[in-house]
Symmetry: C2
Subunit: 394 residues, 2 copies
C-alpha cells in the first residue's frame, strides 16, 4: 500500500479545471432569475467566442450524443439520403443514429486508424449528388485520427448538403474555422477540451441548418433547437438547465479565453506530438500514424501484450485512469489523452509510468527513453518560441 | 502560453487530499452542537491513533509555531535552563522561543544539513544535569535532515528533563514511537503529512509534561493546554475551533488510517530515496546526505547556479511550486517534498521538469537520467514487495 493519486487522464471525461469545479459550489441559485440569465448568456457568448463563429450556439442538457441526435431530429426528414464518413466507433454512431431516425445513409468506411479523404467524399457526391448531408467526426476519439474537415468542406460546398460535424473531441484540439469553411453543425461536449464534468452538449448551427428545420418532419420535443434559440435570446433555456455545469462552464470559458483558444489547440497538439515521439522512441506503433489528431493518441500494445493489462496496471500501480481501445480495438491499443486541461507534468508522469508497466510485463525498455523524447519535444518547442513569449535557451 | 497546472509541491503547505478539501463544504455547522462534538472527538481519537500514542493529544487553532509556543508557555517557568538542539532554521526557532519566554537555553548547533547526535546531548547533560528540557526537530524542514530522536530520547531518560519535539514535518515521514521512546511533547501541523490546509496545530502530551504545568509560571490564556484537555473530554474546544479544517482533518485521518500510518511513512521515505537517487544520477549534491529524512530532500544547485532560478523556472515553465532554501541556504538549495499526499506521478514530473530546467540554465543533462533513477527505485521496491502485496515482476 502506498499513495496513488487517482488521476483522470482519459479523452473524456478529462481532468477538471479546479476553478470550474469550485464554481459549482454556487449552484444554490434558481434558473429563472436575472442572476442565472447572466450566467446563461455569458456561457452562450463564451461558446461562440471560443468556437470562433458568428453562428448561434445552443446548449443542451445531455451528453454529446444528445446533440448528435438533436442535429438529426431537427434538420432532416424520414427517407432522406445522407452520407456518413466513418473510421471508428463514433463514426459508427452516425450510421446508427441516421438509420435509427429513418434516414438512408450511404457509408464511406475506413478501417480504425484511417481517415476519410476529400477525394472519397467527392467521388460519393459524383455518384449521387442528392445527399442532404454529410456526417463525420472532426477527431475520431476511438482511434485518435483526425479527418480533413477543411478539405471535405470544400467538396460539400458544391452541393446542397449540410456538413454535420461531431467535434466533441475536435473542438480545442484542431483548428475548425466554422464560418470560413462553412461548417453547418459543429457539436461539442462539456467533458472534453472544456475541462468540466459530463452533462452539457452544445452545437453551432448555420443559417442553412436553421432553414432546414422549417421542413424537417422528424418528431422532437426535448431537443427542439428552435425553441432553445427563441428562449436563449432572453438568457433562458427551454427546460430546466444543469445549473452546476453551466456555472462550471462559465468559469472554464473564462480560463480558455485567458489562455486563448489557439493556445489550447497548440497545447493539445504539442502534447500529442510529444506522445508520438515517446511511443516511437519506445519502439511502439501508432494506430493513426498517418493522420494523427491532437485530442488523443492511440498506441498499439506490443505484440503479444493485451492493452487491457496496460490500462489495469496504470490504475493498480499508479492510480492513473487511461483509456483502453473501444470496439474492435479493445485489447489492441491504449490511449493517451491531450484534450483540455493536460500539461507536460501529466505527460511526463504518464510516460514514466508506461515505461515501468511495459517493463513489468516483459517488454524491453531502457528507463527514461520515452520521457527523454517528450523532454526533447518540449525543448524544441521552447526554442521555437511556441511556448515562451521570450526566447528561451534550452 | 500553454497549460501549466499549478501544482503545490512544497514541504508545507503540501498537496491537498481531495476528499479532505470536499469535506470542508460541510462547514455550515455550529461548533457547540452534538454533530460537531462527534467530529471533534473523532479528530482527537484519530490523531492519537495515527500518532500511535496513549498520551492526550490537544488541537489548537494556529500554525505549528503556535504549538511550539504553547509547549513553552505551559510547561516551563522563567529562568529555567533548557537545551536546544539546532541544525537549521526551525532549530533556531526553538532558540528564539525559549529566549523569548525567559528560559535560559544552552544551544548545541550543527551546520545546516547536519544533525545533532545523542553523544552531543549526553555530553551537554554531563556538563549540566539540570536541564529542564531538550528541544529539537524530528525533521529539520529547512534542510531535510532527520535527528536521531530515539537515540537522544535514551540519553534524556536518565535525567528529569522533558523531551519536546517539533515533529511538524517528522510525523508521517519517520517512525516516532512516542510512548516507547518516552517523547513528552510531539508537535504536528495540519498542512504537512496530514494533507490539509494550514491552520491547525496539535501536540501529544505525556503525564510528565502535564505534571510540569502545575508549577509553570509563564502567563498563558489562549494556549492553556489544561483548559483544552478539560473541554476535550466533552468533544469541545476552549475557544471557537476552525470548523472547516477539523472537517478536513477528520476526512484526512480516515484516509491515513485506511492507508496505514506505517505505509504513509514508507511512502515518504521511498520517494525521498528515489529523489536522492535522481539527484545523484544527475551529478547533484545533497545537503543532508549523511542524515537524510523522509519529509523533504534538499538538493544543492550546481556550482554557479542560483537555486532561486530553479525555483522560478519550475513555476514559470511548469506551474510547479517547489521550495527554495531558507535562511542562509536561500539561493543555495532547492527542496523536493515527499510528506503527505505525494506519489510517484508527482516525482516523475518533478524530476523530468528539473532536468529541463537544469539544461535550460546551462548544466549538462542527459534527458531521462534522473527519471530513470526514480524508475529504478520504484522497480526495486516493487521487487522487494515494499509496494505490492503480491510479488510483482519488474
Amino acid at each position: 500500500m502506498y499513495i496513488k493519486k487517482q488521476r483522470l487522464l482519459t479523452p473524456g471525461p478529462t481532468p477538471l479545471l479546479p476553478q470550474a469545479l469550485h464554481a459549482m459550489m454556487g449552484s444554490d441559485m434558481h434558473h429563472r432569475t436575472e442572476d442565472f440569465r447572466k450566467v446563461y448568456k455569458s456561457v452562450l457568448n463564451g461558446l461562440k467566442e471560443t468556437m470562433q463563429t458568428q453562428n448561434d450556439v445552443i446548449v443542451l442538457v445531455g451528453s454529446g450524443s444528445a446533440a448528435m441526435e438533436a442535429a438529426i431530429q431537427n434538420c432532416f426528414s424520414v427517407g432522406e439520403e445522407v452520407l456518413v464518413c466513418t473510421a471508428g466507433k463514433f463514426g459508427e454512431r452516425w450510421t446508427a443514429l441516421t438509420k435509427g431516425f429513418g434516414l438512408k445513409p450511404t457509408v464511406i468506411e475506413q478501417p480504425y486508424g484511417g481517415a476519410v479523404t476529400p477525394a472519397q467524399v467527392a467521388a460519393a457526391f459524383e455518384a449521387n449528388p442528392n445527399f442532404r448531408a454529410v456526417f463525420i467526426q472532426a477527431s475520431e476519439t476511438s482511434t485518435g485520427a483526425a479527418h480533413d474537415i477543411e478539405g471535405i468542406a470544400k467538396v460539400i460546398r458544391n452541393y446542397d448538403a449540410l456538413f454535420v460535424i461531431d467535434a466533441i473531441t475536435g473542438l480545442g484540439t484542431m483548428p475548425l474555422k466554422i464560418d470560413e469553411w462553412g461548417l453547418d453543425i459543429v457539436i461539442g461536449g462539456s467533458q472534453k477540451a472544456f475541462m468540466i464534468p459530463p452533462g452539457l452538449a452544445f452545437l453551432s448551427i448555420s443559417d442553412r441548418a436553421w432553414k432546414r428545420m422549417e421542413t424537417s418532419n422528424i418528431a422532437r420535443f426535448y431537443f427542439d433547437l428552435r425553441r432553445e434559440r427563441k428562449n436563449a435570446v432572453n438568457g433562458e433555456s427551454a427546460w430546466t438547465p444543469a445549473v452546476s455545469l453551466l456555472l462550471a462552464m462559465d468559469a472554464a470559458l473564462k480560463y480558455i479565453r485567458d489562455l486563448g483558444m489557439d493556445n489550447l489547440i497548440k497545447n493539445a497538439q504539442l502534447l500529442a506530438r510529444a506522445t508520438r515521439a515517446a511511443a516511437t522512441a519506445l519502439g511502439l506503433e501508432l494506430l493513426s500514424g498517418n493522420n494523427p489528431g491532437g485530442s488523443v493518441t492511440a498506441i498499439c500494445a506490443p505484440p503479444g501484450m493485451d492493452s487491457s493489462l496496460i490500462v489495469k496496471d496504470f490504475r493498480n500501480r499508479f492510480g492513473s485512469i487511461i483509456a483502453n481501445g473501444q470496439g474492435s480495438m479493445k485489447g489492441q491499443i491504449f490511449r493517451i489523452a491531450h484534450l483540455g486541461y493536460f500539461d507536460f507534468g501529466d505527460l511526463f508522469a504518464m510516460v514514466a509510468e508506461l515505461e515501468i508497466i511495459l517493463a513489468a510485463n516483459g517488454y524491453p525498455v531502457q528507463f527514461g527513453t520515452g520521457v527523454a523524447a517528450v523532454q526533447n519535444v518540449y525543448a524544441e518547442a521552447a526554442l521555437a518560441k511556441e511556448l515562451a513569449k521570450e526566447p528561451v535557451a534550452v
